[in-house]
Symmetry: C2
Subunit: 136 residues, 2 copies
DNA sequence: CTATTTGCAAACCCTTTGCAAAAAT
DNA sequence: ATTTTTGCAAAGGGTTTGCAAATAG
């Protein structure tokens, strides 16, 4: 994916910091704000946490990034390219992506039609109490 | 619904403060922490915000209450009696409850079986950019 | 009687803000 | 040249904590 064109299409300037944020989100699965910051600092030591926050917020406003509430207090972030289901572990807060089954799009349409909303996207989250990643 | 038995069944003490929290959640639709606090203070002036926080957290741990992230920064709470879809307006943060269609339970089962998780619940949220409640 | 819960205030995050300098288009 | 973005440090706001007193079972 070409992030520079992506940003251009959203009328956002393609600064190195902003591109780094997108790259980290693309590589790492669902990082927290701190994780994004720490990762970028490795090759870009002068970046500030505030810049990461500002970029994430800008990208969220343009529907490029979504926020995921992990049910264990930590907020994580994800590039929003194509809709998918999140499986979130309530204990350790880990997130796993799973493809949407086709039927969910029908559900989305049905809900929108029935209640007369223009549904921009649908978030489907499966909550589990335990997962293979829990180490305690 | 009998909140006292509900709490007993979860091994939680039925204090007046805790019962108030459940009643406010039951009456008001998706209040914020502050709204719960302000509401309870009207008939229970000595309650502290910390107590509301502690109770909400305890009730969340016992799967009696769920947290809803409204996409506009505010966190709201809901009694979890029966699963339903939330329609959340990104602009004003309002939440509307809509019954689940039967098909979603099949979806939940399918996801659990396919990826081998014991899915405790499924959250389905439809995100809209605008709604009739938006007043600006 | 024992374990849990309450209330208070302080501590503790995480997130946002203001502003001048730097960078992007 | 204009507008956006950056980085810093400070402010802000929501949430948690510790502890002694009160309460529930």
């Amino acid at each position: 994916m070409d992030f520079i064109s992506l940003l251009k299409s959203k009328n956002l300037k393609a600064t190195p910091q902003r591109l780094s944020v997108l790259e980290v989100l693309d590589k790492n699965g669902h990082p927290t704000m701190e994780e994004i910051y720490e990762e970028i600092k490795r090759e870009f030591p002068s970046i500030s946490l505030a810049t990461v926050y500002k970029n994430i917020n800008t990208l969220r406003e343009s529907n490029t990034v979504i926020e995921i509430n992990t049910q264990n207090g930590k907020t994580r972030y994800d590039i929003y390219v194509k809709p998918h289901t999140h499986i979130i572990c309530k204990k350790c807060g880990s997130i796993r992506d799973v493809d949407f089954l086709e039927s969910i799009y029908e559900y989305q349409e049905e809900i929108g039609k029935k209640w007369n909303y223009d549904v921009k996207r649908i978030d489907v989250t499966a909550i589990v109490d335990n997962c293979p990643l829990c180490t305690h």
